[in-house]
């Protein structure tokens, strides 16, 4: 890694700490001034939490080019930790975990549809992780699958469009999503994803705290 990339990465992390959106803008500046390869090099130096924070601040209407250029494995890893950013009940205001996941997936799957092979690889990478299927299913809990019209062109940006995109990329994953979201409990799945993400983030903590929540 060149020293220049390291310095740039450090700068992006510092800016991202304040605002994921500004972090994303800096990445775009790097790409337009010095080329996509340089930006990819910088992204690969960022910690996964910063990447997740940046992508969360973009969506399908204003996608981050980072989402287009990251390799599938990084995207999978990033989505594993993304739930740590979901706000608690009290603070989340209008944005629910479902909205958040929907926005991430739309950004990844609906904004650049010219490279199906890459899209399918990303889907595989997400599905490969332990909780990937739960993540993919979360936005569709409560969705009326009977209402899908397979003949008509889906409304752009709709849940249906996202589902049909997944179906066209990997039919078995689509079927698993339908089954999981029909049977899944929203609160439970949210809690599992969050706890998994928090554990990845925090990593090993001192075993002395094992009995922390045991009353004395």
């Amino acid at each position: 890694m060149s020293q220049e990339v390291a310095i740039l990465a450090e700068k992006v992390v510092a800016i991202t700490r304040e605002s994921g959106r500004n972090g994303g803008d800096i990445l775009e500046d790097i790409a337009s001034a010095e080329g996509d390869q340089k930006m990819i090099a910088v992204i690969s130096e960022l910690d996964i939490m910063s990447v997740a924070k940046i992508l969360r601040d973009f969506d399908a209407t204003i996608p981050s080019i980072a989402a287009w250029l990251m390799d599938p494995e990084t995207i999978g890893e990033m989505l594993d930790v993304e739930p740590s950013y979901w706000e608690n009940e009290l603070e989340k205001g209008g944005v629910t975990a479902q909205d958040s996941v929907k926005s991430m997936l739309s950004q990844i799957f609906l904004t650049r549809t010219d490279d199906e092979e890459r899209q399918a690889e990303i889907l595989d990478a997400i599905n490969h992780s332990e909780t990937g299927l739960l993540y993919l299913s979360l936005p569709f809990i409560g969705f009326d699958f009977e209402s899908i019209d397979f003949e008509e062109e889906p409304v752009s940006g709709s849940d249906e469009e996202l589902l049909l995109m997944i179906k066209s990329l990997r039919e078995p994953i689509y079927k698993a999503i339908v089954a999981t979201s029909k049977n899944g409990d929203l609160e439970n799945i949210e809690a599992i994803l969050k706890s998994q993400a928090n554990n990845i983030r925090v990593g090993e903590i001192s075993s002395d705290t094992d009995d922390m929540f045991e009353p004395l």
Binding site: E89, K194, N198
Partner: protein
């Protein structure tokens, strides 16, 4: 211990710095303690909040500080020497677990569906604070236990005459409404003592009128009735109700004074119960009295009239006429059944 040191800090931090100053805790033990506190905060963050959102991390640190301080205060009973000994021989984790025992009691008091993350935020403690975490905890527990007691009282004294439906969420009940139900209970107990039924309007009128004239007589009956509360519902409930009794008694006197005793028995009956229940009556239980009212007196209760008449209309409606009605009767009668007079 330095006299000039700022002492307005959480007990835990004060005890740690005193122990460090006096050499009880070595720098190595100190750094171990620090990293343990960090791990404990991370564990709170990942279990209840988020370990990546900065205000959640801050909150988690404050909770660890609060709960650990609470535990240390409980273990040492505020004795500074004992506290420093505990810190030296045990760990901050022991203090936390003692504090957690208390937090857990609050969780249990709120039941399994309570949002524990929100309850935990009550124990936040920042490092320049000097509030009394022990009494904060005590009042959290006391408040919740009082809520449970009030619910219990509301359940026991629930009365069909009162307009609050039994299916209504008890959480919505305020203390004044529960108090009104207790007042109603007291009066029904007095009625029983005088062998009066709900339809003996004239006898009830005579009783109320004599109470208005002879306070002593009312006071005796009132005391008799309230004494049975303890016998019937036990010490805890009667203790809680005791505070309400002066105000209930005053409400009775106000009600007597407001009654126009030249009016008919049924009118006195309705207006008395309306006053006791602060207008919050269940109209279906007052149909009998309303029907016995003198015609001009009916004008006094336009809402009751509307409610009762609309229900009677639909009840009396002959089957074949329904077809001629220009509107959907099912819809209207559904509506009618659910209409509650809104005062």
């Amino acid at each position: 211990m330095n006299i000039d040191k700022v002492r307005t800090r959480p007990f835990l931090l004060l005890m740690i710095s005193d122990a460090v100053d006096s050499g009880l805790i070595t720098p190595e033990q100190m750094s171990k303690m620090e990293s343990l506190l960090v791990d404990m905060s991370l564990k709170i963050a990942k279990s209840f909040f988020s370990p990546v959102i900065s205000h959640d991390l801050k909150k988690s640190c404050s909770i660890v500080l609060g709960v650990t301080t609470l535990g240390l205060l409980k273990l040492s009973e505020g004795d500074t020497l004992k506290a420093q000994k505990i810190l030296q021989e045990d760990t901050v984790l022991t203090c936390f677990r003692k504090g957690w025992e208390n937090v857990d009691a609050l969780f249990k008091a709120h039941g399994p569906d309570a949002n524990r993350a929100i309850l935990l935020t009550n124990y936040q403690y920042s490092d320049n604070e000097h509030k009394d975490i022990v009494s904060i905890h005590a009042s959290l527990i006391a408040t919740q236990q009082d809520v449970k007691l009030l619910k219990q009282i509301a359940n026991r004294f629930k009365n069909p005459l009162s307009g609050i439906g039994s299916d209504m969420d008890l959480l919505e009940l305020d203390e004044a409404t529960i108090q009104a139900d207790v007042q109603l209970w007291i009066f029904e107990t007095i009625m029983k003592r005088h062998d009066l039924g709900h339809k003996q309007y004239d006898e009830i009128k005579a009783l109320l009128s004599s109470y208005n004239d002879k306070t002593e007589m009312f006071n005796d009956d009132f005391s008799d009735a309230t004494e049975t509360i303890q016998k019937k519902y036990g010490a805890t409930i009667s203790k809680r109700i005791e505070d309400w009794l002066p105000s209930i008694k005053e409400n009775f006197h106000k009600a007597f004074a407001l009654l126009a005793f030249e009016n008919s028995g049924p009118e006195i009956y309705i207006s008395f119960f309306e006053q006791v229940l602060r207008g919050n009556i269940n109209p279906t239980h007052f149909v009998h009295a309303y029907e016995s009212l003198l015609e001009p007196e009916r004008q006094l209760y336009p809402d009751l009239k509307m409610q009762i008449e609309s229900e009677a209309d639909f009840k009396d409606l002959p089957g074949e006429e329904e077809a001629d009605l220009p509107f959907d009767t099912d819809l209207i009668s559904d509506f009618g059944d659910n209409t509650v007079i809104d005062y």
